[in-house]
């Protein structure tokens, strides 16, 4: 094994020093050694998920679909999963398209979250009946027949399908490894999923051509889906909330949370998953920079809306500001502002912190909590409006509703749905290698050590 080199004062990442066989062994170690810790975690998460499902059946469902406010935390759970778990695979696509080599061990950590998409899809289906039709109210569907129910469901179904396709297709070579080397229980499913992958030249060519395209397709569906969700779940339910930038804010802040989720996943894999050789400072540093950029974008998109409302001084706009920021949901807004923008900026603006493992991880946790608070703020404000306030085209917020305070059942629902997503990720992790052997070994093939002036550098080929 080669020794660590130093150039420009920071440590050479071990990944680039490894042989392909080392990576294969690490991947096999991951699928073969499912310890009691992972099993216990799966059981706890599955239990919490079951409790969450029971809470939905016992509380909001019993109150009926007409009581939209009772469904607030089901909607929060749905939007939170859409903003985090569903956004994470988009990061993987962006990194693939940019063809950066450092992303190779990161991809699996972000793509695996696509397996959770079935939960938000089902939540969306049970939330649909809480919405009134769009014939006699303002909505981005403009009264289109069967909107938002049918068309929204089709969009969500397309996203879920594309997400599973992306997660599956990007894992094909690794699934074949599990098929050939895993335990009998793992082999059965892996054999079915790997679809006769033998790693022929033709298969690799097809894989490389298609995997990026499926990822791009996923992003191209994700953005309109988030636009529609921002409109249906927030804008159309708050009378007088006329804003074109909000869907962009909603989508961009979801990308921010998707990056944060990937960083936290990486930190967990590094700490408890034996991935320290693959998920090093290089990955945390690069994603830390992205997280900082997206935290600045959080502010930019929020400010773009705020300044127009504040400067314009239109009565209905001032009412919306009071509801979402200044009065009813003032504290959730302040927390959201601090956790999505101010703290990430103040912490990540320092390069030594960005270049550490702990710095980006702490900020990622802050952002994930901040994003949850933001979704709670927006959803609670939107789901507090009775149908009567939405019907017709008057659409003005006459009185500010009281803030919605969650009960125990709401908390159980929220925790349960997040735990459900975790269960699916942990289950999928049984069949997928960590790190992605195909990705990391693909990078190692393009690597060479060469002298460069007084330093020893790694040269990585760009195939185009």
């Amino acid at each position: 094994m080669a020794t660590h080199g130093h150039a420009h004062g920071h440590e050479l990442q071990r990944t680039w020093e490894l042989a392909p066989a080392d990576v294969l062994n690490a991947g096999l170690r991951w699928v073969r050694s499912i310890g009691t810790g992972r099993r216990t975690l799966v059981l706890v998460c599955a239990g919490l998920f079951a409790l969450g499902v029971l809470a939905i059946l016992a509380f909001p469902l019993r109150q009926g679909f007409a009581e939209r406010q009772a469904w607030t935390y089901v909607a929060v759970a749905f939007l939170y999963l859409m903003s985090t778990a569903a956004a994470a695979p988009a990061l993987s696509t962006a990194l693939r398209v940019a063809r950066s080599h450092w992303r190779r061990p990161v991809n699996r950590a972000s793509e695996i979250w696509a397996v959770t998409l079935i939960i938000p899809f089902l939540l969306y289906l049970i939330l649909l009946p809480t919405f009134p039709g769009t014939e006699d109210r303002l909505s981005i569907w403009f009264g289109w027949p069967l909107s938002p129910w049918l068309w929204g469901a089709i969009l969500l179904l397309a996203l879920t399908g594309a997400g599973y396709l992306f997660a599956w297709f990007s894992s094909l070579p690794d699934l074949a490894i599990v098929r050939d080397h895993g335990s009998p229980a793992q082999r059965r499913l892996a054999a079915w999923l790997s679809r006769g992958w033998i790693g022929s030249h033709r298969q690799w060519r097809f894989y490389e051509k298609v995997v990026n395209n499926i990822g791009v397709l996923y992003v191209l569906i994700y953005v309109p889906v988030m636009t529609v969700l921002a409109s249906d779940f927030i804008i159309a339910l708050i009378p007088g909330y006329f804003t074109a930038v909000f869907p962009a804010y909603f989508t961009i802040t979801s990308f921010q949370a998707g990056i944060a989720l990937t960083i936290v996943t990486m930190a967990v894999l590094r700490r408890w998953g034996g991935q320290a050789e693959y998920l090093g400072r290089e990955q945390f540093w690069a994603l830390g920079k992205m997280l900082l950029a997206f935290s600045l974008l959080w502010f930019y998109f929020w400010w773009s809306e705020f300044i127009i409302f504040w400067y314009g001084r239109m009565p209905h706009e001032i009412q919306v500001l009071k509801l979402l920021m200044a009065e009813t949901y003032r504290w959730p807004f302040i927390l959201s502002f601090a956790m999505n923008f101010a703290l990430p900026l103040l912490i990540l603006m320092w390069n030594p912190i960005r270049r550490s493992i702990t710095g980006p991880t702490v900020v990622a946790v802050i952002v994930l909590v901040g994003n949850l608070i933001d979704r709670i703020r927006l959803t609670s404000a939107a789901f507090s409006q009775p149908d009567a306030a939405l019907l017709g085209h008057a659409h003005k917020l006459k009185e500010l509703p009281a803030a919605y305070v969650p009960g125990i059942a709401d908390m159980v629902i929220l925790v349960g749905m997040v735990a459900g997503a975790l269960t699916l990720v942990l289950w999928a992790a049984r069949y997928l290698t960590f790190p992605s052997v195909a990705e990391v070994v693909g990078g190692l093939w393009l690597r060479a050590h060469k002298p460069f002036k007084h330093a020893r550098v790694i040269v990585i080929g760009k195939t185009e």
Partner: protein, 457 residues
């Protein structure tokens, strides 16, 4: 596939300095052609100053016309420099090397051209100083300091200062190179500009740090400039202007048009200066891929603006949207924006074969900017051609020949200034190209030899 050729340092210097010492017939054609249009531009402005704003199509309530549209357009183009230079420098994208200098210079010249427009639009520009200094805070006679019309010059001047510093910092090593190889007035000029550069370790370190710092610092300014320009419109209550999406929408539109303008410039430099060894097909390929993402992002914001303008179902908004989308001449503009701004170029750029075709890239980039100019007009004008509660009258706006000449002349002005620049300074950064040659290596992978970039860990 990369087309990189191994070039010696002396060869790079000689080839990149070539436009400074030889003027090709095509360059003469450029000078004469652009100079002629520029003469029309100067005449049109002089005519307007002499006779007053009555020679333009401006009248109540259409007090903002072609000149303001053109101002917004050129501010947009100026975003290319920072987009290409700062972001690609920070992300260490290798393909930036041959395009940064031209993009930065274009930023400065298009900013200067943009700034010219509000000044001549006053009709009596010499009075600008009288109005502005001393600024009257006390009697509320002049525009409010809290208003976007005052933020505008502050942001633009900051951007111009930052961009100039940015360009200058990256030019210092080349100035020293030029100093050591020239005589006469050129030597004097380059000696002053080189600031005693000797290329020692400390100087290189300072230059690198300054480049990175300015890249980081200029990014917020770059975003703020077009955001503030958008707020000139959005903070007013004019229907279709009062939109929260305007700031990011203007910025992404600016990047779309600015990066397309860089493609135009790259093609022209390749043809005009015979820079095939430096501006290679892989650079068009890379910038084409960037443009697919930027263009698609722009389309998203464009659609957000339209859909959420219709969403409130307010009579006045609907009226203007109807006017914009379905009535002559704005229906033609709508089609131009969609077709030229997105539906022709982006599907073409999806194919690598076309991204590596210089002629196709050149023409598609021109189409984008035709579409983007139309978009600026489409955004600004319809909202003013209406009668509101607080206006006395309404009327159509028809640009006069004077305004058309000013618009046409502004393109000639930027082109002419770029040509003059390339006669005095190397249009591609010589030291960056040489650095790139050091970083480029070849690597054997199986039976193939692939080009590789040195990465430091």
């Amino acid at each position: 596939m990369q087309e990189r050729h191994r070039l010696g340092e002396e060869e790079i210097t000689r080839e990149l300095f070539r436009p400074l010492v030889t003027t090709t017939p095509m360059m003469w054609v450029g000078f004469i052609g652009l100079g002629a249009v520029l003469a029309i531009f100067v005449f049109a402005i002089s005519w307007m100053f002499y006779w007053g704003l009555g020679v333009t199509g401006l009248h109540r309530p259409n007090m903002w016309g072609f000149m303001i549209v053109n101002f917004v357009f050129w501010i947009g183009i100026s975003h290319a420099g920072v987009m290409i230079s700062a972001i690609l420098r920070l992300t260490q994208a290798e393909w930036r090397r041959p395009v940064t200098r031209a993009a930065e210079v274009m930023t400065i010249f298009s900013l200067m051209t943009a700034m010219l427009h509000p000044v001549i639009h006053t009709g009596r520009p010499w009075r600008t100083l009288y109005w502005v200094f001393p600024y009257d805070f006390w009697r509320n006679l002049w525009p409010d300091i809290r208003g976007p019309l005052v933020w505008d010059p502050s942001a633009i001047l900051t951007y111009l200062t930052g961009s100039t510093l940015f360009l200058y910092t990256t030019m210092i090593p080349d100035m020293a190179l030029a100093r050591d190889r020239s005589t006469g007035w050129r030597r004097t000029l380059y000696t002053i500009l080189a600031l005693g550069w000797r290329g020692n370790e400390r100087q290189w370190k300072m230059q690198t740090i300054a480049g990175f710092l300015l890249s980081g610092l200029i990014l917020p300014v770059f975003v703020s400039v077009h955001s503030i320009v958008s707020w000139d419109f959005a903070v007013s209550l004019v229907p279709t202007w009062h939109a929260t999406v305007f700031a990011p929408y203007f910025v992404i539109g600016a990047i779309h048009s600015g990066v397309s303008a860089v493609v135009t410039l790259m093609a022209l430099m390749r043809w005009l200066f015979r820079f095939e060894n430096y501006i290679r097909l892989e650079h068009f390929d890379a910038i084409g891929r960037l443009l697919i993402a930027v263009g698609t992002g722009w389309l998203w914001f464009f659609l957000l603006d339209i859909f959420f303008a219709i969403y409130p179902q307010e009579a006045r908004e609907l009226e203007i949207m109807q006017f914009r989308l379905f009535e002559w001449p704005f229906n033609v503009f709508t089609a131009l924006i969609f077709i030229f701004g997105y539906f022709i170029p982006v599907p073409i750029w999806v194919f690598q074969r076309f991204r590596r075709n210089v002629k196709i890239m050149f023409w598609t980039s021109i189409l984008v900017n035709v579409g983007m100019w139309a978009e600026r007009y489409w955004l600004i004008k319809p909202g003013l051609m209406r009668k509101y509660e607080w206006t006395f009258d309404w009327a159509w706006y028809r640009p006069s020949i004077v305004e058309m000449s000013i618009v046409l002349g502004s393109f000639a002005l930027v082109g002419f200034l770029l040509l003059v620049f390339s006669k005095i300074f190397p249009p591609i950064s010589v030291w960056e190209e040489k650095e790139g040659q050091h970083f480029a290596q070849q690597l054997q992978v199986g039976k193939r030899v692939v080009n590789a970039i040195v990465r430091e860990f």
